[in-house]
């Protein structure tokens, strides 16, 4: 009887694992990747300008 119960549990657990594996795989694929640090962009998306040395030497117009 003990062996039969063990066999049954093994089978049941195996079946659950088989059923859960694709679900876990799918969840891992679909769940968002959690990221703290970004990688640097290759190019700036906006307009680029040249440095104005005289402007740099003056205090900025912005607060802070």
């Amino acid at each position: 009887m003990d062996i039969a119960r063990r066999g049954f549990l093994k089978g049941a657990l195996g079946a659950v694992a088989l059923a859960a594996a694709p679900a876990l795989w799918l969840f891992a694929r679909l769940a968002p990747r959690r990221i703290i640090e970004a990688i640097p962009g290759r190019r700036y998306p906006g307009p680029l300008r040249r440095r104005d040395d005289a402007a740099v030497r003056k205090p900025g117009r912005w607060a802070g």
């Binding site: 968002p32 990747r33 703290i36 962009g41 205090p59």
Partner: protein, 323 residues
């Protein structure tokens, strides 16, 4: 694939091709990309007092850098033309981290500030620039609203010498309604930064009817004194109508005077009033003997009698980083 940015408490879920709320952290092919890295929309040599920092290398110039974007959306933002716009609409110049350190040296600055918008959203650029600046013997300053998660904050603080952190109000409702943020992460940033040895100064922009009651001010001052220490400099700054908050008048001078009185009564040693011309607004006094230590007019130092960071009369040490 969707990514979740865990830099700040907003934890934006970002679909491919989209950006987070800050507008500058973009999901490109499942990778989180900082599109403003190395591209400064503003580079200037400011007096350090403009940050405002009154207890950090007074009278020196500080190379000040910003990129577009911000993770808060304050209705009263004074720099909204660069903070509340997409990088596509803000011009910038290539200014990689190594150049920031080199430029600071060339312009005879002792420190570099990451400021104007919020250095949190250009975190990686700030971090790498801080490392380069440290290697060049320079100090680093954050001017920030402090809306960042603790893990990245702790990493950044290893390279930061001083910070002016906004405490916009001592009210979660204010943060939610006016700034699209929350209060708790800001308080945590203040406490963590201070505990990690960053020289912290606090700024509170006093806005008529929104955060200017005695109760609001008292709670804020009490929290600063209790959690950061009485020595923490506190700046009350005058509000000017701007951006989406043009319906309120500028803060009356008497309100700022009242705020200062409340801060003093809560035991804070160094309290300043900014954005307004006011007698004594920016002077530093010895909190023990009352001696005038640093006299300021606007951003100009008229006299500084500190001796090795101490009062020349009673030898009391004054909190800060001094030359």
């Amino acid at each position: 694939m969707t990514v979740q940015c865990e830099l700040c408490p907003k934890a934006c879920l970002i679909e491919p091709g989209q950006s987070g709320e800050c507008r500058v952290r973009v999901n490109l092919d499942g990778k989180l990309v900082a599109v403003t890295y190395g591209y400064a929309c503003s580079v200037h040599v400011d007096p350090v007092e403009k940050k405002p920092l009154f207890h950090f290398l007074p009278g020196t110039g500080i190379l000040s850098i910003a990129t577009a974007g911000c993770n808060l959306h304050c209705q009263n933002c004074q720099n909204w033309q660069i903070s509340q716009r997409n990088p596509e609409d803000v011009s910038a110049e290539a200014f990689p981290p190594e150049l920031a350190a080199e430029a600071a040296k060339r312009y005879r600055c002792l420190s570099v500030a990451y400021t104007y918008t919020d250095p949190i959203v250009f975190y990686e650029y700030t971090l790498d620039s801080c490392i380069k600046a440290r290697e060049a013997g320079l100090k680093n300053v954050l001017v920030t609203a402090g809306y960042i998660n603790e893990t990245p904050l702790r990493k950044l603080c290893q390279y930061v010498d001083a910070a002016n952190i906004d405490l916009k109000a001592f009210s979660d409702a204010f943060y939610r309604d006016i700034c699209s943020g929350t209060l708790a992460p800001v308080l945590n940033t203040l406490a963590v930064a201070k505990s990690l040895g960053v020289m912290v100064e606090v700024t509170n922009l006093v806005i008529p009817t929104l955060n200017d009651s005695d109760d609001d001010l008292q709670k804020l001052c009490r929290w600063v004194a209790t959690n950061l220490g009485n020595e923490t400099p506190l700046h009350f700054s005058r509000f000017h109508p701007d951006f989406r908050m043009k319906n309120l008048p500028p803060t009356p001078g008497r309100t700022l005077d009242r705020a200062k009185e409340i801060a003093k009564s809560e035991g804070l040693y160094y309290v300043y009033i900014g954005n307004i011309i006011r007698q004594d607004a920016g002077n530093t006094y010895c909190h023990v003997c009352g001696r005038l230590l640093i006299e300021r007019q606007g951003y100009v130092i008229l006299q500084n009698v500190l001796e090795n960071g101490k009062c020349p009369d009673c030898k009391t040490e004054v909190y800060g980083t001094w030359i």
